[in-house]
Symmetry: C2
Subunit: 153 residues, 2 copies
Amino acid sequence: MAEKGVLQRYLSVGEVASRCGIAVSAVHFYERKGLISSIRTDGNQRRFHRGVLRKLAIIKVAQKTGIPLSEIGAALDKLPPNTVPTIKDWEKLSSQWRDDLNERIEQLTRLRDQLGKCIGCGCLSISACPLYNPGDTLGSDGPGARLLELKEE
Amino acid sequence: MAEKGVLQRYLSVGEVASRCGIAVSAVHFYERKGLISSIRTDGNQRRFHRGVLRKLAIIKVAQKTGIPLSEIGAALDKLPPNTVPTIKDWEKLSSQWRDDLNERIEQLTRLRDQLGKCIGCGCLSISACPLYNPGDTLGSDGPGARLLELKEE
DNA sequence: CTAAAACCTCAACTAATGTTAAGGTCAAGC
DNA sequence: GCTTGACCTTAACATTAGTTGAGGTTTTAG
């Protein structure tokens, strides 16, 4: 049947796993979660289209950004299943992700800057720090240490 | 006993929770995990030194950066237990976290830029994209889709 | 043809981070 | 002095992201 070296060859689960640097169990898991899909041989073994490597690469990358699998899956679902997605499809998807990423980056950056200020003034350890409001005694509605919270949550 | 409005007043678990904007169960949880501590009244109720507010603020901030509780706890442990931490103590702690944050931000930024390039060329959907290496057929040691992985892992 | 390696399913387990519920106690106001 | 809200403990549950193991089948190499 399938000749080695032919581009169209399907991949076994083990091949997919080792090529992506993940465990077989993880590949199974992603399939169970609907992030990837496969066909079966007569003997009921999975065979993956090589496009799955692409998807797994996307998954890994997205996970590093902190995007949960459910969201990743939702994004992947928007790619047409068996056809080659158009450039516009992909643009939409990746733009969305880039926006998410930007938001995340901004959030972390704000946090970092806040920390930077704290470092300068010994914040949190010295009650004179502007971030550490001694007005605590005002009660549960007072600002208290909650000033430390950054907006956007 | 304790007069309201006096700075030295101890806080009940409910007060702590509402002032920090977290659930009572979370306060219990953090105490169980050793991140914070309390004393008890004759009636076995928790009473927290107000310094706990500071610690909880630190915990919340650190969590937003993606630092696991175990690490946060380890960091807090390095702060002298009942004394006010020195500015140096705090500087060290927060500098470390800021470095972590910076690393994370850089990682996300690289990813975003990568995505940006993909948007430009229709990457991942079009096999001609430089990121989608058709050399897949080289075998399990070939670069394949793994090119998508960013360095620093 | 046969033995080993790879694969299959299903269920249970891990770990982090909490929440929820059950059953009982404490404290404060009327 | 009783009722109500806040508190106590312990245990179970929820979620995310998988891993591990048992018991059985398929594929492949020699």
